[in-house]
């Protein structure tokens, strides 16, 4: 493992982790305020990507980035107002079920409107190409901004690793969003009301604040964040109908690992998972290598060869769930959780 590979993997992991956290933060906020797990959260992420795709065709990427999240946020708020609030009196299981039904519906509607194939959602011209290139010449390591330098193609044995500009943009936007959310939550009046409503909804209501409206606001805000993540994720990864399910399960794993209702835990878990996953994808080691290292020989005839020979890159996709199981066995309340149950 050389330095350039390490740096690029770390940056890729961070960008995925920050994207996950944009989703997980909204989900955690909604969960800790309303006790509702929004099963359709990842579906709003998907809808955000698709809506932004269409807006990009009509208005350009920057308008799409600006307009799609509030639009999806409005949809989320409307769902909270007209469907979720109605089933609130039936208890938590129906609340979970109605968001499950919504995820079903959104998937079908997306397939109906945009078709079942993956869309070609490319970044705007400004953000295409690499932000910088790490040039690994046989005798020196250097960093070049913008397009890869000529040395990459002319010098023999040169290894060049690029970091896409759009990923960097996504990371920057995610950090900016999170700082903004943090400021809103801690420095504004509505943020204080939200924080108070987290723990003492009755007292807040007695002081004359409209708690149901605050809930609607949080739900809408959370879905808008998810949609913003969708705009970034749709370009960075892929815009297709299965994107919701793929990300949704990982986000659930993130907030259980971080501890239910803990924003700090969700941050650590999502960034950690992103980095671990990005390093795992690039590794072709397996348990077999470990056995060889400690002096045992493993052949295709040995017991459980299928398991020992699986490469780490192959298990990268299930690492979040493996970690989830491990966390539940050894620390059931999650990394930063405060209570069990």
């Amino acid at each position: 493992m050389d330095a350039s590979y390490f740096l690029i993997s770390l940056l890729n992991g961070l960008s995925i982790g920050l994207l996950l956290f944009m989703l997980a933060s909204g989900l955690t906020l909604i969960f800790s305020m309303m006790g509702v797990l929004n099963f359709a959260h990842a579906s709003f992420y998907m809808v955000g990507a698709y809506v932004a795709y269409t807006m990009t065709q009509a208005l350009g990427f920057w308008w799409a980035l600006l307009l799609a999240p509030p639009l999806v946020g409005l949809m989320g708020a409307a769902f909270e107002r007209f469907a979720l609030r109605r089933v609130h009196k039936f208890g938590h299981v129906p609340e979970l079920l109605i968001t499950f039904g919504l995820s079903y519906l959104l998937l079908e509607i997306v397939q109906l409107v945009w078709g079942r194939q993956a869309l070609n959602f490319s970044p705007p011209a400004l953000l295409q190409g690499p932000l910088f290139t790490i040039v690994n010449l046989p005798d020196a390591l250097s960093l070049a901004w913008g397009m890869p330098p000529e040395a990459c193609s002319t010098v023999e044995g040169a290894q060049c690793t690029q970091f896409p500009a759009f990923r960097a943009f996504g990371m920057g936007l995610a950090v900016l969003m999170l700082v903004a959310v943090w400021l809103v939550l801690t420095r504004t009046r509505i943020g204080l009301v939200i924080q108070a409503a987290l723990t003492h909804p009755d007292a807040v209501e007695a002081l004359g604040h409209n708690v149901p409206r605050v809930l609607m606001l949080v739900f809408g805000g959370g879905t808008a964040l998810a949609a913003m993540a969708g705009v970034i994720g749709g370009v960075m990864r892929v815009t297709e109908p299965s994107m919701a399910l793929a990300v949704g399960a990982v986000v659930f794993a993130v907030i259980v690992i971080g501890g239910m209702g803990s924003l700090a835990g969700a941050f650590v878990a999502s960034v950690g998972l992103g980095v671990i996953e990005s390093f795992a994808v690039g590794s072709d080691r397996s348990l077999q290598d470990l056995f060889t290292f400690i002096g045992m020989t493993i052949t295709p005839a040995s017991f459980g060869y299928a398991l020992w020979s699986v490469k780490i890159s192959q298990v990268a996709a299930i690492l979040p769930f493996l970690l989830l199981v491990l966390i539940l066995i050894f620390r059931p309340k999650g990394l930063f959780g405060t209570r069990e149950g």
Binding site: L96, L97, A253
Partner: protein, 431 residues
Amino acid sequence: MASRTYYEFKPYNVGRWVVWGFYALVMLVAPLMFTSSLSMTMLTQMGIGIIACLAFNMLLGQGGMLSFGHAVYSGLGSFFAIHTLNMVSAGNLPLPVSLVPLVGGVFGLLFAALLGFVTTKKAGTPFAMITLGVGELVWAMSLMFPGFFGGEGGISGNRVTGNFAGITYGPQVQLYYLIAIYTFVCTVAMFAFTRTPLGRMLNAVRDNPERVEFIGYNTRYVRYIAFMASGFFMGISGGLSALNFEIVTAEVVSAVRSGAYLLFTFLGGAVFFFGPIIGAVLMVLALVLLSELTLAWLLYLGVVFTFMVMFAPGGISSLIMMNLRVASFGKLGPLLSSYLALGGTGATVLVGAAAMVEMTYHLQLNQALGPEMKFMGATLNAHSLDSWFGAVFVLTVGVALFEVSRRNFVAQWGQTQEEIEREIKRREALA
């Protein structure tokens, strides 16, 4: 005892015998009435679905646990059953084919014991999320180990391996009766489970876990046992489906399958024991017939499900029971005309909405066939303004009329319920 709500003649509970006898009779007679090969396939699948949905409801309805990854246990049961079947076919294992589903059940139980140990650490919402994660884990693993799971092509087998007194399971009807027997026995066993002290504790854990802890029970332990029992029956249903289809692909452990169990168990109704049976019948009808009829069936299903959660969270079985209650007080007659109005206007809404949905699907998926399409005998042109205007018109009129009749119905229903409450109070006063 005046508070008995059912007729009881000691030493036998006649009502119960009649209901169970009827259930057995239906299963016995069904293949004689529906003899076509399509209906035979559907009947066998219904039997399998009934076991799976009832087992799912042991958690959802009786334990208040919402599992998003329950296909794992039926799916793994299927895989172990098909491997067992192949060992039997190869002559390596002296086991009657009739007992292969039990092997599926045992492995369903084993995996429920293994994975349930982790998932049942939590209840409520975290439980749902963790089952989803575990489901994804198993699903991803099924693609990682093609040796056991057969990769894309799956594992196939052949159920016709032996001949015991003419029973080879070659003809579908023989398999049907095997499945019918399994279904009946499993249904009885799961109903009996609800009557055991453990089943009652499970209800208590669902309703008030804190209080259960105070009394001295370990709620997690109760959930864990129920989870294992449910896994066992899921495994049996998986083993039966392995025998039925003679091929098992990785799709059986997917989140889509888990979602289907959840959706239809809920539609049938989680509150009553018999609800999931209705759900399973609907599941097979939807998967086999509705999916043939229209491309948009998943959309319709989602809409029905969402409305059910919002307006009738007890599912179809609770709607039936509410109307039976009204009927037992002799007040159903006046409501019938309202039902007729609701049904008629509802159908109008459905026709309008369905026409628009079908036209959109047609544009999206069948572009090559041209804009013309058949819809309920009429020819619609998905590109013409007329068809869209007609659909919108029908929809608008339907919605308006439906709203009028709905308001009438709500008022009438509320009044009837009040009368029934008064009647109950009057009877209590007399007794």
